[in-house]
Amino acid sequence: MTDLGTLATEPLFGLPLPALWFALLFAMLGTFLFLDGFDFGAGALFGVREDETERETVLAAIGPFWDGNEVWLVVFGGALFAAFPSVYADLFSRHYLLMFGILGALILRGLAPEMYEQRHDAAWQRWWGRAFVAGSVLAPFLLGAFVGNWLAGTERSFTLVGIVVGLAVTALTVVSGTAFLRVKTTGEFHDALGAYGLPAVVGYLLAVVASLGALWVTVPGLRAALVSVPVLALVGLSVLLAAGYVLALRRDHDLLALVASAALTYGLVAVVALALYPAVDPVTGATVQSAIVSTLPLNLMSVGAALLLPLIASYFVVLYSAFSGPAQPTEGY
């Protein structure tokens, strides 16, 4: 038997690990929704641009990044499994068909660009282009629906709350996708992209209001949480961020607009986390304290995450600095 000292009995440095892991989980989800979100948004914008060079530019812009971005979802799933195993099992099996919808959309989104580049005949590219757009739009919509249902604590997978939250998340990906593509483009395409920012962010705010309304009406238990100070503050902040985002795009401060869209994304996720806490799964009544794994695996995971997360941040710095600046449509291998 390996001697583990206090690792097996006491939380690491006496930290409130269950709450920290709850926060970390949502931070991972937010990171996924921001990073892969702009890939999804780029995919949606790919759908509304007809020009061949523009489309190639969109694919080149996300090409080096999307794989790394998507891993945040894998890591979120793994961390949920490791920290709250019963929640992982209950949530995923409860929304069985929804989960497979998300997986199907992610398969389409991942595969389509690879296939699109393989052949240059029109019919082939038209179909894979459509598949790419469908995957890019459906993935955030269904993910949003999943998060909405999670928060609402419903056993059904297709609900009003799910739909409006899904729409909000989809609009949000277009918000960040626009900013991202602006950073990665120049010239006419860059200027044309500016037009999408305002409708996307307005659509997002409207969908957020609709989501809050739907939650208010259908889940009375959440009303107190929805009007709590932090949630109201975050909603107010989102409106300011949205205005800042539009201004930044107008003045060609594209990177600033991208940062604003990141803040919007983390803000949305924070609202969900705050409204949920201290519950993790309202359906079963599991709370952060009741569903957390035992001390030993939790401590080990915490050590692992503390060592690995800074490393991961450095990989992303290497990746994003290697590919800073505008994308070239012809880049590859």
Partner: protein, 478 residues
């Protein structure tokens, strides 16, 4: 409507059997790519740049398909095996989470640099990115196999019951995660990946070498393919014997730790000594088809062979028969035949390696058309052997999902309906068949296009001489 248990098991089987193809390709290609990148940077020889660029294309496609199929698997633990995930989450979730943070993050970020960044980053960072990607693929195998080997030989845990549900608690992480089984599995798996890729490379290269030297087409890049063939043969000469020697040790370990699985591998019903190793065995009556060693059979065996395998050298060792266990046996025929086919392929790969090595040594590597045909025919057999090995491992463990702790039938999500499970099963069969078809199509196109800087075979007119001329007499224009 299929029973949710059966549908979930079938679905898991279909999705893993497809998934593992892509990790095998990427883990097996990784060491080659690191080598090509190193040589490309250090020698400036165009050949290595060609090798790197060509095989990187195949790596990149494999990786993308590996990613999209892998995410499905991770989610399936929660969707289809919720009871298993709740029971085993404390031990099982950790490795998966660490796998994501330690391995997938590393490979997925540096893959961007490796695939798209040759012109953008320094040589040193480029080389580092090739190593990071390779290391990432090999590390992901570490964590997923830690999880799997714990399911085969669980240790370092305590079983409790909470709210009527069995829950496994981690008590000794070192014992739980670094089981002896893990080492066996990792060596066997990683070596099999390199072996499979060597066979694949050799088969593809042999095709072009054959076209050029035997058939008389003029293949513009024949030098590239000759180099590929030689590199693949060297790797084959190392990995093929190692796989078999190691497999022998591994079988002994399985005998010691999972006697029921071993009995199924050998189809032994009654405890016996001096058990023969049947090479083939057929029941004499059709209703025993699923049971290769039912009482009456026609068999061809090595006397004492199975006992010898189990004990590591004692032909008289005792093997416990399936009848002695309290649980029902796994599907014996599947395990028995998969094991035989894997072992048979293992010996075939050694033969191929020695044959190719001998011809090379005699300076006849490029002319031996029979060898070329054998290599072409074997290009996918490495992957076939990997699948068979996994079928032995996973089907042989039945009826347990965690050996001796939890039955597979108890691990399935309680709320899952037959209808839901059937819908997704049908969907996956459809989607994964399409996925495999597309992957094959893309890889075939990359191969036909040949290495960069050479002629694209798709655009070269068929310059094969009059088919009535015996091909062997056509001089090759080297």
């Amino acid at each position: 409507m299929v029973d949710p248990v059966i549908a979930s098991r079938l679905q898991f089987a279909v999705t893993t059997i497809v998934h593992i193809i892509f990790p095998v390709m990427s883990m097996g290609l990784a060491p080659f790519l690191v080598y090509f990148t190193w040589k490309d940077i250090r020698t400036d020889e165009p050949r290595y740049e060609q090798l790197r660029r060509f095989w990187t294309k195949i790596f990149a496609v494999s990786f993308v398909v590996g990613t999209v199929t892998g995410i499905v698997l991770e989610f399936e633990f929660g969707t289809n095996f919720a009871a298993f995930s709740t029971t085993a989450g404390e031990l099982f979730g950790g490795p998966l989470a660490i796998e994501g943070m330690m391995a997938f993050m590393l490979e997925a970020t540096f893959l961007g640099v490796f695939v798209f960044g040759r012109e953008r980053v320094s040589d040193a960072l480029y080389f580092v990115s090739s190593v990071a990607v390779g290391l990432g693929t090999w590390l992901s195998a570490v964590w997923i196999l830690i999880a799997n080997s714990w399911m085969q030989t669980p240790r370092g845990y305590e079983l409790a019951t909470e709210n009527g549900q069995p829950i496994v608690h981690l008590v000794d992480p070192v014992a739980a995660y670094f089981t002896p089984r893990f080492t066996y599995m990792y060596v066997h798996m990683q070596n099999s990946a390199v072996l499979s890729v060597s066979l694949f490379m050799a088969g593809v290269a042999a095709y072009y070498v054959f076209r050029h030297h035997v058939w008389g087409y003029s293949v513009a890049n024949v030098g590239f393919w000759e180099a590929t063939l030689k590199i693949a043969l060297v790797a084959l000469l190392v990995t093929a014997p190692l796989q078999v020697v190691h497999g022998d040790q591994y079988a002994q370990h399985v005998y010691e730790t999972q006697p029921q699985k071993f009995a199924a591998m050998e189809a032994v019903w009654d405890t016996e000594r001096y058990v023969p190793e049947y090479i083939v065995a057929f029941p004499t009556s059709p209703d025993q088809l699923t049971d290769p060693r039912a009482k009456e059979l026609f068999g061809l065996g090595i006397p004492g062979g199975a006992s010898w395998l189990a004990s590591g050298g004692d032909p008289n060792a005792e093997i416990r028969g399936l009848n002695e266990f309290d649980t029902e046996p796994p599907p014996v025929a599947i395990v028995f035949w998969s094991f035989r086919a894997m072992v048979g392929l293992g010996f075939w790969f050694i033969l191929l390696a020695f044959w190719g090595g001998y011809r090379w040594w005699r300076g006849q590597l490029l002319e031996d058309d029979l060898l070329h045909k054998a290599l072409m025919g074997s290009s996918l057999l490495g992957i076939v052997a990997v699948e068979l090995g996994w079928i032995v491992t996973e089907v042989g463990r039945q009826p347990w999902v965690i050996q001796g702790v939890m039955k597979t039938s108890e691990g399935v999500s309680p709320g899952l309906t037959g209808a839901e499970a059937t819908v997704t099963l049908a969907g996956f069969v459809l989607v994964y068949t399409t996925l495999l078809g597309l992957y094959t199509y893309v890889v075939a196109r990359i191969i036909r296009a040949g290495p960069p800087g050479g002629e694209d075979l798709r655009t070269v007119p068929d310059d094969r001489p009059d088919p009535s001329t015996p091909p062997a007499e056509v001089p090759a224009d080297d």
